[in-house]
Amino acid sequence: MTRVRELLVRATNPTATVFVLLVLVFAGVFAMNPGFFEGPSLMAFLKQAAPLVILAAGQYFVIVSGNFDLSVGALVGAQVVIAARLIDGEESRTVPVLIVMALFGIAVGLVNGLITTALKVQSFITTLGMLLVLYGAIRLWTGGAPTGSLSEAFRTPGRLGIENVPVLGQIPWALLIMIAVGAGSVLLMRTRFGRILMAAGDNERAAALSGARVGTARTIAFILSGLSATVAGVLIGGFAGVSAQVGDGLEFTVITAVVLGGVVLGGGRGSVLAAMAGALVIEALFTLFNQMALPSTLRPAVQGAIIIAAVAYAARRRTRPVPTTATATPTPS
């Protein structure tokens, strides 16, 4: 019991801001619409939030190791389009196509990782380039707009769930997948790989001189990000079907989410749990705006202001006790 509490404290300690923020936003949602916390609508919220949360976990690995992955939005889009074109409505193709998608996600992560680590191209540029390539290549392949259609089986994880559960109504598969990914990520960060990844983001040279395969660890982080984009793609495609715009701009949302979770761009700091909480905050914020019937056009402005304020608050907490050491602005690598 105390061990659990200790774990919780440790997990939340440096990044408490995001959890406070989560509570605040949920309180706001509750004030607007108490019905939100009834089982079914809460489940619906978690179902729709799951892809971003999973993406945040993937992005976390990349960020904590000292890189960026700007290609995830394009990859999510590409995966959905690939799925639709290859499945083309045939149920029997679902599993093979899922395997192809996983391989594609791994391949994109691998290429991102190798270009970044072996060719020493900064990840901002690598993944920006990858974004362009994926965006263009997928449209080139489909002639500009997605073709084909998804199978029912493919859509199950993103759309359906365990039905008729008392109180909750439906437990979405997406939620279970999200929990599995979250648990897996937390456990992974507690392994030697996780610690090496963290150390590599903190001080690459020290880690390398300690015998760590820094490049390999970072490449694996990119692969994990590619896989998380694949899972997110399966969930998003399942949830809403194919559309041309799928995935657009997700990369910035997810990086914002991770940073909101107290993870420092530049690497070496932050917890994956908090990163995923950051994604929940963003989704909750969108829900809050919706509940408040805030004019659509104003929402970005409010979102921007809240993000800046929250990150500034977290930065103040981090810097206040040690005014001089932490003023350094960590920047993308």
């Binding site: 060719l119 020493k120 390539v133 659509s296 104003l298 402005a301 930065a315 602005t329």
Partner: protein, 332 residues
Amino acid sequence: MTRRPGADRLGTTALIYLALAGVLAAGAVATAIDGGNLFATANLVDMLTRTSLTGFLAIGMTLVILCRSLDLSVGYTAALSSLVAATTMDGQVANIPLAVAAVLLVSGLVGAFNGAVTAYLGVNPFITTLGTGLIIKGYLDTQYKGPAGDVPALFQQFGYTRIGPVPVSALVMLALAAAAVWFLRSTRTGHHMYAVGGDVEVARMSGIRTGRTLMWAHVLCGMTAGVAGLLLAARFGTGSAEAYTNLYELDAIAAVVLGGTLLLGGKGGVAGTVAGVAILAVLDTVFNVMQIDPFAKDVLRGVVIITAVAIYARRQLDRTARRPRFAEGRAS
């Protein structure tokens, strides 16, 4: 120890201009095979025209990146500026000076906000400027539901007039680039940007007002985005909120990095950035002349950017190179 002063910086810049020449040559060959002539006047004009907008944005972006910061809000600032310009001018030639002043003020203030939040509140610039961009977007979408304002023909000359084959806007961009080169080299604030980007703590301990330096970089970056907005207004004849959808900020960052400035700050310069901008412009023109499919364009752009950066990443990251004492291979 025998290195000439500044030889290293010069070397990198030279390499980038070499890369530019390479891209030009490759583009010329490709268009020639396709039956075109890249150096036809029309194509040269096209290339030069395409440099101005990204050029303005990239010059300011160079300053913030040198300081190890980033500005993802420039596209939004430019869109806002185009509206401020067009609505202030409102078709009146007499309002032009006022409009220019208003644009520089507004865009400078946006930059100041970015700088202040980044420098004094310790927010990562990626987040600061992403947030600022969202705020401006919200304002634009709410306030302007489309193009607004009217730019008098006189000011439209800024977007359309050419001296010989050279568009005025490209000349202004080059002049601004020259000013920025001078600023970085010869003023204390400019010089300190390298220090702040190299290591803020060291800069601070050396007595540099790091926050102020960063503020300056952001203000200037905001203002160059303002100038880009003026150019947009001159070319559109009106202000356009939609301009932010074009992700100009990513183009600008790509140009800066192509120009050899390190995203981690502290190294690089505007001379390289101009070459980076030119590389992108040449690519655009070549793609257009060759009628490349728009989606293939994206693919090729991505590949070229990564390849170019990979080529000079090797040199740049080899910072700790020590002078060898024994020539390799001979001593054995």
